[in-house]
Point group: C2
Chain length 243, copies 2
DNA sequence: GAATTGTAGATTGTTGACAATTTAGGAGTA
DNA sequence: TACTCCTAAATTGTCAACAATCTACAATTC
């Protein structure tokens, strides 16, 4: 028998994870400073690994690194939401198409996606953040089917972004849509397995649009109409520019 | 009057630049090891900044970082070319569309693009690598007009990728196409300024396709036909799947 | 002889000390 | 008061030494 290689994370990665979670959970707020010595003391490590962790978070865009002045937690706005989802829509289309056209030697990966979907199914009624996180996991696994490393990587990245948006722009997961969400995901996976790329893309785009709409819910009628004036909304909602 | 803040690069960034150039220029080959101590000795610095530089290059994908085993220069293949250009095509479409729809308060940025174009014009007959690099500069500046930070950032990133491809997959810049290239760029910029998004996209996509074709030139007829079998080629050449 | 185990050398990971830079606030000046 | 200049504290940047880990190869076993 053969075991899967276990790869222990480096201290820096571990630290980055902890700090990232602290931001996503709201223990750290936009504008808060990350002071190397403070962190190294509370994590009981030296400043070296902390530095690396901060650099990791900086490339993720979670913190902003100013030369000689340290890092601060970054603050997102709605333009960021639109950009991130525009990226996810079109990159996702590529990945999903590619996955559809690949002869699924990716058997193992398909298993992973199914598993994520299962996790979502059993998690009905859980709290909103948990559901959102599971949904993002599913999407990441799905996109990974495309076997395009850079695009997959970019998805991981934008998933972190979305975590920040959820935290700082506020969003409530709508439980009533849960069933619909899962059935959409099922259809999407099915389309990919059957090699029906165009259908897969259609479902994918629909999902992205639904996600963006979630972010618009906290806004008023008037504000939403204003949002639809923004250029990027074209990319996301193409023809049907009216709700 | 007000001056633009001059921001001196950190040692690590400087080092990363040096090493990156060494890779792009071919002084370092895929598989070569980057040994921290060696580098720190030849750069006359300590290992700290070297470490950071290597981490930077690792996130750029130029080197591969193996835990406890150091970093090696990464090796690209044609799949990478296809993925990178697929990303540039669709991300570029978003940026170009967005730029077209923006009321050009981006006056300053437009100036920058024009300048890059001018640089290309005056550089006729220069060596191939120089032309390619100028072309990439132009494209980056153009995409920056979209004012979408993540997409702009991604373009910088994939430009580095392309540098690696050019170096290690070989490509010869075709001087005879030079005029056509520049006139295409002019039309593209003009379309954006006039807010003609659909035309801009069309030109953009054409340019991407032309770039990919450049990378296919070293291949034989038979090999090229094989390339067109690859799923990703659909995204790049859509309908016209025959040369 | 092939496979396994042990070991020395090379290399990365971590640490605490010191240097350089930035920031904030007070003293001095008009 | 408003402004500039200066200084001290806070903080990041750099360094060299030490610890942990990996690689290659020799020694050992079957």
């Amino acid at each position: 028998m053969t075991f899967q290689a276990i790869e222990s994370q480096s201290t820096a990665e571990l630290l980055a994870e902890q700090i990232r979670d602290a931001i996503l959970v709201g223990k750290l707020h936009p504008g808060d400073r990350l002071i190397e010595q403070e962190l190294s003391e509370s994590f009981k490590t030296s400043r070296g690994p902390i530095r690396e962790a901060i650099r990791i978070l900086a490339t993720e865009g979670l913190v902003e690194h100013r030369k000689n002045r340290g890092a601060i937690v970054a603050a997102p706005n709605f333009d960021d939401v639109l950009e991130v989802y525009a990226m996810r829509m079109s990159m996702g289309s590529i990945a999903v198409t590619h996955a559809s056209q690949l002869s699924l030697e990716t058997e193992l990966d398909v298993r992973k996606v199914t598993k994520k979907l299962e996790a979502m199914r059993t998690a009905v009624g859980g709290n909103a953040n948990r559901m959102i996180s599971l949904d993002l996991d599913f999407q990441s696994a799905l996109i990974a089917l495309g076997a395009l490393p850079r695009i997959t990587e970019m998805f991981e990245q934008t998933a972190v972004d979305i975590g920040v948006f959820v935290r700082f722009l506020g969003i409530k997961y709508d439980d009533s849509d849960h069933k619909e969400l899962i059935s959409r995901h099922e259809k999407l996976l099915k389309a990919i397995k059957e090699g029906n790329a165009s259908q897969a893309i259609e479902i994918w785009n629909g999902h992205i649009q639904a996600s963006v709409r979630e972010f618009m819910k906290p806004f008023s009628e008037v504000e939403i109409n204003e949002l639809f004036e923004r250029p990027l909304m074209n990319n996301l909602f193409e023809m049907e520019m009216k709700r």
